[in-house]
């Protein structure tokens, strides 16, 4: 009984998904909502605003500078955490370690 019910509900959900997928924007269409004014601004004015010819670097380091600072901090934190977990301390043992 539960099996039949789950199969029927799966088919219904699948039909809904197919119906929604019909309404999705075409792939690569320049009029899509994702290709809005922000990306046009990057393409047209990133050279004069940031002075960098590589558009990816312009977005990464200038327009999204806070994000990249956070990413670098994440990498730094990963390094510090691994160091504290796996580093063998020569001069004195860290507190809390038995023997």
């Amino acid at each position: 009984m539960i099996k039949i019910f789950s199969i029927i509900s799966l088919i219904l959900v699948g039909l809904v998904f197919f119906y929604i997928a019909e309404e999705m924007p075409d792939f690569g269409n320049p009029d899509n909502p994702t290709n809005n004014n922000v990306s046009r601004r990057y393409i047209e004015r990133s050279l004069e605003e940031t002075g960098v010819r590589n558009m990816v670097t312009a977005v990464l380091a200038s327009y999204r500078g806070y994000d990249t600072l956070g990413e670098t901090t994440v990498i730094f934190t990963a390094g510090v955490a691994t160091m504290f977990l796996f580093q063998r301390w020569k001069k004195e043992k860290p507190p809390g370690v038995r023997k």
């Binding site: 004069e48 002075g51 670097t57 380091a61 670098t72 691994t82």
Partner: protein, 145 residues
């Protein structure tokens, strides 16, 4: 003809020749992040892999002698400090945080921005390189004393 680590002389000779070129390519990747494909993350990883190759071929002790962990820890902090320090310099010279063109240099604004982005990429590269090497050293250095 192998050393106690079991690495043959061919591998040792080739990696001794290749490691400087790998490092040069890493520096190139960092420095050309503005004009072509590349950037701090990628170049930092390439620089890190050169030291990882050194430690695989010549042993962890030799790699630790060339690149001590204290130096790596310092590099890790210095790279992040370069990045955030550029932001603080922008703040001190009257702009917003990481608003590169506010630095008081005798250059047009987009040139100052390009210079600051180069500095930022160098900072990212130093941090990523140090963290990659440190991860390898910490995870690989458990077995042998």
């Amino acid at each position: 003809m192998t050393d106690p680590g079991g690495v043959s002389i061919v591998v040792r000779t080739v990696s001794r020749i290749m490691i400087p070129f790998i490092q040069l390519f890493g520096i190139y990747t960092i420095a050309h992040g503005e004009t072509s494909a590349g950037g701090g993350f990628q170049g930092g990883v390439i620089l890190g892999t050169s030291i990882i190759l050194l430690s695989i071929v010549f042993g962890l002790k030799e790699a630790d002698r060339r690149m001590p962990r204290e130096l790596l820890t310092a590099f890790m902090c210095v790279g992040l400090l370069i990045y955030s320090g550029i932001g603080v310099l922008d703040l001190l010279s009257g702009g917003r945080y990481l608003e590169y063109s506010s630095l008081p240099l005798p250059l047009p604004p987009h040139e100052i921005s390009a210079l600051s982005i180069l500095g930022v990429e160098i900072g990212i590269g130093i941090t990523v390189m140090a963290v990659i090497i440190l991860l390898f050293f910490c995870l690989a250095g458990e077995r042998d004393a």
